[in-house]
Symmetry: C2
Subunit: 200 residues, 2 copies
């Protein structure tokens, strides 16, 4: 005994959401069908539209439906400063913290040989080209303070060492082993202000 | 500073899912866009199809894409026994517990005057008609053991008292204040076996 085939299919499809197990997928499916049809239709429509149109910014690789994101188009940015983050959520967290007027580069992950994520997947050739072309003076490595984030920062630092650019790392103050996007703005702001040259 | 408009729209649309706050909606949106596009397209497609085609069974009101659900069509059911539950999930939980070979009636909720949910919204006229027409001998009230579930059971019991039908309630053994769908099969089975006549 189970739900009808289409309801079961919906429960299975909802499992693609992060943190959603069988019981919450069931609760979500029944909630949508019993009480939230309008919201459900809107979700289906926007999800399809977002998947079709949202890609990566040609400049910074963040998620956007435009060829170049609003931040990369904005006048306000100091193109001599480039902050490298792991995810679009980290970029938003840094922006919300304030105190930085440069541009960003979004790796969309960190080096993870075990998962087959190498320099190509993170667009590191694109990062190097951007540093040269935009005459960047300082690259601030704001990858997560985790083992993988540190390894990625070291890799990038070595990759850039032959270029006339200062490579810095967010100051400690950010808790070791934490996830950047969950850190409060004040801490992020102070970490940015106290950034240090990357040890070579 | 926020995500691009379409990404923000997706984050907002995901909030219609139960238990999903701003932070998990953001995590879901980025996960779908960065890593789970195939699953996301499938989810959008199945969600739309389910919302278009899944309705209520004409007999028992459970969720199904057919006019009459497979359980109401099955030969196995003893149509003299009718088990009244609050939700399709409760019906599945009762079926998985085993030990019952009758039919079901799904209220899709409980009486809640404060939310404007009265007898009409629960299809109680339809329930009464079904009891008459199918010559039901026993109606087992398996609403949740909560204040609202008890009140709904009492209302139905009174509604049916002029008909030649025995009205029973699941035996205690089900924990008071609990949610039927989270109770283990053994307990549900025993509660069904020990059911008692409804106090009038
Ligand atoms: Zn950009
Ligand atoms: Zn049915």
């Amino acid at each position: 005994m189970a739900f009808s085939p289409l309801v079961e299919e919906l429960i299975t499809a909802l499992r693609c959401l992060p943190g959603v197990g069988p019981k919450s997928a069931q609760r979500m499916a029944l909630h949508l069908l019993e009480r939230e049809r309008e919201g459900g239709f809107r979700l289906a429509e926007i999800l399809e539209r977002a998947l079709e149109h949202v890609g990566q910014c040609q400049e910074c690789r963040t998620l956007t439906e435009e060829p170049v994101c609003s931040l990369c188009r904005s006048e306000r940015c100091n193109s001599e400063l480039l902050c490298v983050v792991e995810t679009p959520a980290d970029q938003i967290a840094m922006e919300q913290a304030g105190g930085f007027d440069g541009r960003y580069f979004v790796l969309t992950g960190h080096l993870s040989p075990i998962d087959g994520i190498g320099p190509d997947a993170l667009g590191l050739d694109h990062l190097e080209a951007k540093v040269r072309r935009d005459l960047v003076k300082e690259v601030i490595l704001a990858t997560n303070p985790t083992v993988e984030g540190e390894a990625t920062a070291h890799y990038i630092s070595e990759m850039l060492q032959h270029l006339p650019v200062t490579v810095t790392r967010l100051a400690h103050g950010i808790p070791v082993g934490g996830e950047l996007e969950y850190i409060d703005g004040g801490t992020l702001s102070r970490a940015m202000a106290g950034r240090l040259p990357m040890a070579k």
